[in-house]
């Protein structure tokens, strides 16, 4: 507040009120972190430790959850296990201590790879298409532009289950059921609406004069788009891409209804990680940990653009 002569602005909160605010906010933050901390901890517990009463805060850390996540095991008699050659690796050893032998790899890795392939490909497509469309809407007088933009947004208002009914039938006809291509196309269509709205906002902020100057210098419109607008919009494109990536990564409703095997992604898979007698919670926690770590990284990268992303570009800072 340069215009004020007093040392402290009248609108600056008092030191005490800052303290109180800080205390409450930190308390809230710590409270909401408890479930996440518990996910992390449970991943390093043994199954008996994970379901002990009272819940254990201090325990002997174990990688059994991660081992169980990556392997399938079968129960054997102690005599059979005693007759086997020495255990290969830690997971085998842990399994044998529970009278089991490792039978093979679990489906977690293929599901995780599916998530990666589907999320990244659909993001690339959605951002590519979205950038072009956003530039079109931003720079040219498109007839019925407002209606088209509203139509693009309204596709997001459909409940996913309602969309899944005809998509299920359509994909069955086209042979796209339970295929990565089918999921990629679907996620691209859902994300492109977000991409167009966000990117239009970012491109609107780039002064037209930049391209016009380039065009006077002899660039064609397309060259100006590629060499002037795209570099200027790079941050916005990156932020949009991360938002699309997070959506595709986290998506559950379409995935659970339209995939069952080959193209299944991680979110519908995790609830079906079961051990003997129900969900294998350490393994579920391990899977959840591995699944949310990328999101943590992305959220921190996105900090500055979060607001814009979650409001479809309606609120800009």
């Amino acid at each position: 507040m340069p215009g004020l002569s007093t040392a402290h602005s009248v609108v600056e909160p008092s030191a005490l009120s800052k303290r109180i605010a800080q205390g409450i906010v930190i308390l809230y933050a710590l409270l909401t972190m408890i479930p996440l901390a518990w996910i992390l901890l449970t991943g390093f517990k043994t199954p008996p430790d994970s379901i002990s009463y009272p819940p254990k805060l201090v325990f002997q850390p174990s990688l059994e959850g991660y081992c169980n996540l990556f392997t399938t095991r079968s129960r054997q008699t102690p005599e059979y296990i005693a007759g086997l050659p020495p255990a290969e690796g830690m997971c085998d050893e842990i399994a044998r201590s529970r009278n089991m032998v490792v039978a093979g790899p679990s489906k977690f890795v293929p599901r995780f790879v599916n998530s990666l392939v589907i999320a990244f490909t659909s993001t690339l497509l959605a951002v590519g298409l979205g950038t072009l469309a956003a530039y079109g809407f931003s720079r040219f007088r498109v007839p019925l532009a407002d209606d088209l933009l509203f139509f693009i947004l309204s596709t997001r208002m459909m409940p996913p289950i309602a969309v899944a009914i005809p998509i299920y039938l359509m994909y069955r006809e086209l042979g796209l059921s339970d295929t990565k291509l089918g999921m990629i196309l679907l996620y691209t269509a859902v994300n492109v609406s977000l991409a167009v709205w966000l990117l239009k906002g970012f491109i609107d902020e780039i002064p037209r004069e930049y391209e016009e100057a380039a065009m006077i210098d002899g660039y064609t419109r397309l060259q100006a788009f590629r060499k002037v607008v795209l570099p200027q919009a790079a941050t916005g494109i990156a932020a949009t891409a991360i938002f699309c990536l997070i959506f595709a990564w986290n998506e559950y409703a379409f995935a659970v209804l339209l995939t069952s095997g080959e193209a299944q992604t991680t979110p519908p898979f995790i609830p079906f990680i079961i051990g003997e007698g129900g969900q294998d919670w350490p393994a579920v926690a391990a899977a959840t940990t591995l699944f949310v770590i990328p999101i943590f990284v992305f959220t921190i990268l996105l900090r500055k653009h979060l607001l814009r992303g979650i409001t479809f570009g309606a609120v800009r800072k």
Binding site: S52, L132, Q223, A253, V256
Partner: protein, 320 residues
């Protein structure tokens, strides 16, 4: 982007290899052509994956088609499905459950979110860091995290029950958050609020920060009390932002499926059966495709209509 680069390449190529007048013409690939070239792929994709299926849904909603019997004869039933849905007590029940869920999550999240935003706006030391920490839950997958909450809610071993029991002195195995008819709706509201309060907070924070300091300075000069300043400046000026947050949360929670499906699957009984769960049961368990298509259309029209009314109200608040 491949399309643009191909086009670009062609244009470039043409411009280099053709005599001047033609090059001029290619260079001038009209803005209108470029506009349509750029917009058309997106529109085509949305037509194929959104509009065509929507039209198909409308068509199916007038038939008794069943997806699990693709070869059975399909007959036209006209508006029968619509009539029976609108008079079906189960459907009204699920609409009521949805309305309760939307209402309570919005009330809790708006109150908590605004309060948090107000506190963070005190700009204490480290507020940026703590804001980021608070925001983390909303970025996670509702399905994956909702699934884990089922573990926290276990009656005997769950951390949630343990903490509540510890603080209130009740036995942690004496109540079941997910299995009890009265508590199951609360269990969903708690997880949803845990995830989405930060969302409302972030939008409210933007609203509070949009209020220029000079207004408060003028109020100080007029010796307006802090209470008065809050009611006459802070709240009204942040209102469009609060309403925007409510709009987005309302639409999202009207469509709510992931977390409820994993936490309670609509149970116990049908106490937490929100509209999307009913729709899933009709469409993918009972395979009443025609009936569920009609339900889907009704849901879409509802959310679309409510959102439209709300946006009009929002614009009125904004223009004040």
């Amino acid at each position: 982007m491949t399309e643009s680069s191909t086009v670009n390449h062609l244009v470039h190529h043409a411009a280099q290899s053709t005599p001047e007048p033609v090059a001029r013409r290619v260079r001038g690939l009209s803005d209108r052509a470029i506009a349509w070239l750029f917009i058309a792929p997106t529109i085509l994709l949305l037509l194929a994956i959104n509009i065509f299926p929507l039209i198909w849904t409308i068509q199916l909603s007038f038939t008794n088609y069943r997806a699990n019997r693709p070869n059975a004869a399909v007959s036209n039933v006209g508006l029968d499905h619509y009539a029976s849905i609108l008079s079906d007590p189960d459907v009204w029940h699920s609409m009521q459950v949805t309305a309760h869920f939307v209402l309570w999550t919005i009330v809790i999240q708006t109150a908590l979110g605004f309060a948090l935003a107000y506190l963070i706006d005190r700009k204490f030391r480290g507020h940026g860091f703590w804001t980021t920490v608070i925001l983390l839950p909303m970025m996670l997958s509702p399905a994956v995290v909702g699934n884990f909450w089922k573990f926290l809610y276990q009656p005997q071993i769950g951390l949630f029950n343990y903490i509540v029991g510890f603080l209130s002195g009740t036995d942690p195995s004496s109540f079941q958050m997910i299995g009890d008819i009265r508590l199951a709706p609360c269990s969903i509201i708690i997880v949803d609020s845990w995830m989405w309060t930060p969302y409302v907070m972030l939008i409210c924070l933007a609203g509070l920060r949009s209020i220029p300091d000079y207004i408060y300075e003028a109020a100080e000069v007029d010796r307006a009390s802090a209470f008065r300043q809050f009611w006459s400046i802070t709240l009204p000026m942040a209102m469009p932002f609060i309403m925007l947050a409510v709009l987005f949360r309302g639409i999202e929670n009207f469509k709510m499926f992931d977390m409820v499906n994993l936490l309670t699957s609509g149970g116990p009984g049908s106490t937490t059966e929100v509209a999307s769960i009913t729709l899933k049961r009709e469409a993918f368990e009972k395979w009443r495709t025609g009936y569920s298509s009609a339900f889907a259309i009704i849901l879409f029209v509802t959310v679309f209509g409510l959102a439209n009314i709300y946006v009009k109200a929002l614009n009125r608040v904004k223009s004040r």
